[in-house]
């Protein structure tokens, strides 16, 4: 059995995105427990890449590749987990999106990859996401955190609308905001629970938000 776990670890650690799904399938075919595959195989490697990134030994593209490999593996394993009614452990669910009128994608994706590597479950709504869609998905998924990106001073104002909608509907998620034009004073002004200037800071912030005062 160990060689299956070693292979799962390796494909994530090496960032072999296309090899991750087949590795998960082979493990399931051999009768391995899906939750063990996640914890002992794939996630253990992602956490290691995350630690090495933190130490400065690995770089962002390597971390993103490891994160995508895990997503591919989860796509195979998740249905089996759900069948057996198992929910894998995570630090919390983070719902991410770029606000309406704004099509900037990459910063948010990097934040998502780092959050996933740190042990959060991430659902990415994509770009140009209206407030109503943030609200709908937040009510459905009950995330611990809603994270919003905006790259333009003219679209950043939409972050305020999303927060207003979430608060109005008493969605208990904490809200974090980011993007080039966003500043701490802006985050405070619109009633966000936190602001992060880059992806690493976003992970620290998310940890704080779920650690201290989840409502």
């Amino acid at each position: 059995m160990e060689h299956f776990y070693a292979e799962m670890y390796r494909v994530v650690y090496e960032g072999e995105v296309d090899a991750a799904g087949p590795a998960a399938e082979r493990a399931l075919a051999a009768g391995l427990d899906p939750l063990e595959c996640v914890n002992r195989g794939f996630m253990r490697a992602l956490e290691q890449v995350g630690r090495e990134f933190g130490a400065g030994d690995k770089f962002l593209p390597e971390l993103v590749a490891a994160g995508e490999a895990v997503q591919r593996a989860l796509a195979v394993l998740q249905p089996r987990l759900q069948e057996s009614g198992i929910r894998r452990e995570s630090l919390g669910l983070v719902l991410l999106g770029t606000v309406e009128g704004d099509i900037h994608e990459i910063g948010k994706r990097i934040v998502g990859a780092l959050l996933a590597a740190a042990g959060f479950e991430v659902v990415d709504l994509g770009v140009d996401v209206p407030a109503a869609r943030f609200l709908e998905r937040a009510r459905e998924l009950r995330p611990a955190i809603v994270g919003m990106s905006a790259l333009l001073t003219t679209t950043m104002v939409r972050q305020r609308e999303v927060i207003a909608a979430l608060r109005r509907e008493n969605v208990p998620a904490r809200v974090m905001v980011g993007g080039a034009p966003v500043t701490p004073s802006w985050a405070e002004e619109i009633g966000a629970d936190g602001y992060a200037e880059d992806a690493s800071a976003a992970v620290d912030l998310a940890r704080q938000l779920v650690g201290g005062g989840k409502q």
Binding site: L60, I106, G107, I110, T153, P181, T183, W186
Partner: protein
């Protein structure tokens, strides 16, 4: 008592030095790679209007994905219709810039969100007044040929009409050419054209003397923004020059390799210009680019790295191949303060594009990767430009400059101080504005002040003493009417 000299005319660089970073074979290989991507993979144009124009011209259009594949012959025929030379007009006709392939012009940097306040030094959110004040300083500095951006966003006016307020503030602050990067929809573009018409009078005159031009951002890789495309089509219909700036970041929105980044940069700068030429053959268009490399730790924009300098130089050669002027993103240091890093980044990122023949450089005055406006940096960047100008203009060698007669007259162990030849050529010698060359004792007695303090003094003097060429009261009233009408329309369609 102002220490200002009278405002001087714009000082372009006419480089004599020339540098090739790529061989002719390299340029050809990048061109062919770009054509292959354009025709086989295609580019996303999320605008029905744009896709319609491309389909009519023989491009293969996938309306569902909003992707157009552009055949090589369509691409090259379209680019062949663009004028090789055109002018950027100005409120003051004396400030007109000739994009003739031989001169290089520097602008302000743009689209920041904060300002280091000149009086208090604090970092604060930018306002409309900062747009105006930075335009006044740019108007005075002879190194700054046009106002790009705006330098910072006017965050104290409503988002719907912000680009129009910024354009007005820029026009009021300077009589030089203005090139906004914030005209992101066809309705806003129409209002901007109307504002320019109020100043110049007729559509024919605006065509002859476009007092503003339009810069857009590409959506790298292989994409464009729908609103920006439609805004530029409106501008091009009025003879307003347009360009699109890709900013591919190696490892994130471009391949990790410099050559691969150049392919993406070429595709994303070229594709929208093909569209403009198909819609409005002969409309003035320019290339633009600010390719860079992702910071491998933060994923952020580096605003200065050896790869940036190579990219900046190499893309100029590619644009020369197509025969169109290029606006290259230069300066824009990632440094947070006007320090050693800022000088390192901005010197290299200016020198390489100038030596490879760029037409426009954007631009001066910003820190933290174009996010914070610094008046000191604006003045100091102008000094970097003047050093680069002197270097790029190279060495003139002829009978007059060889000075053999003077050398013989002075003879062994004489000096050249009071020679007529010396006096005749004093104007050739570069002189500092803010660089400190004072003797140590004098520097110490003067309070130990450096370039930063001198630059701050100059910026304050300009703001206190310089009056830009006024806009006629009737034109100002018309702008007020336009701003009000645009406000009603744009708020309603929001």
């Amino acid at each position: 008592m102002s220490r200002l000299h009278p405002r001087r005319s714009v000082r372009p660089i006419r480089p004599r030095l020339s540098l090739d970073i790529l061989t002719g074979k390299d340029v050809q290989a990048i061109h062919e790679a770009a054509l292959r991507v354009l025709s086989e993979t295609g580019v996303r144009f999320p605008s029905d209007r744009a896709l319609g124009i491309l389909a009519d011209a023989g491009c293969e259009v996938d309306h569902g994905r909003q992707v157009a594949r552009i055949p090589p012959d369509v691409a090259m025929a379209a680019i062949g219709r663009a004028p090789r030379r055109f002018a950027l007009g100005a409120r003051d006709p004396a400030d007109t810039l000739d994009l003739d392939g031989e001169h290089c012009y520097l602008s302000t940097d743009g689209c920041g969100i904060e300002v280091y306040d000149l009086e208090t030094g604090e970092r604060r959110r930018s306002t409309r007044d900062d747009v105006y004040r930075s335009a006044v300083v740019a108007d005075y500095l002879d190194a700054i040929a046009f106002y790009w951006g705006p330098t910072v966003s006017a965050q104290d006016v409503p988002p719907s009409t912000r680009p129009l307020h910024e354009l007005e503030a820029a026009f009021l602050g300077t009589s030089k050419h203005v090139q906004p990067e914030t005209i992101l929809s066809a309705p806003v573009a129409r209002w901007c054209v109307e504002m320019a018409l109020a100043e110049v009078g007729t559509t024919a005159e605006l065509r002859r003397r476009p007092i503003f031009s339009v810069m857009q951002c590409a959506v790298d890789p292989l994409g464009q923004d729908g609103g920006s495309l439609e805004a530029s089509l409106v501008a091009a219909a009025h003879g307003i020059p347009t360009g699109f700036m890709p900013m591919p970041m190696s490892c994130a929105t471009a391949p990790a390799t410099v050559a691969g980044n150049l392919v993406v940069t070429t595709v994303d700068a070229l594709a929208p210009l093909i569209l403009i030429q198909l819609a409005h053959p002969g409309a003035p268009v320019f290339f633009a680019a600010a390719p860079t490399v992702m910071d491998l730790r933060t994923g952020g924009y580096t605003g200065g790295s050896p790869e940036d300098y190579l990219l900046g130089g190499a893309f100029n050669q590619i644009c020369r191949f197509y025969g169109l002027p290029l606006s290259m993103g230069a300066m824009a240091t990632g440094a947070k303060r006007p320090d050693w890093q800022a000088a390192l980044d901005n010197s290299f990122s200016t020198l390489l594009p100038v030596l490879t023949g760029t037409a426009m450089l954007t631009g001066a005055g910003m820190l933290n990767g174009s996010k914070i406006l610094s008046y000191q940096q604006l003045v100091m960047d102008s000094e970097i430009y003047s050093v680069v100008a002197k270097v790029a203009e190279g060495i003139r060698v002829d009978a007059e400059t060889l000075a053999v007669e003077t050398i013989q007259r002075v003879g062994p162990e004489g000096n050249y101080l009071a020679q007529p030849h010396t006096l005749r050529h004093l104007g050739d010698i570069w002189r500092p504005t803010v660089v400190d060359r004072s003797p140590y004792e004098a520097w110490e007695q003067g309070g130990g002040r450096g370039a930063y303090d001198v630059a701050a003094d100059l910026a304050r003097d300009i703001l206190a003493g310089h009056r830009p060429r006024e806009v006629e009261p009737a034109v100002r009233r018309e702008w007020q009417r336009i701003l009000a009408a645009a406000g009603r329309e744009l708020e309603a369609t929001g």
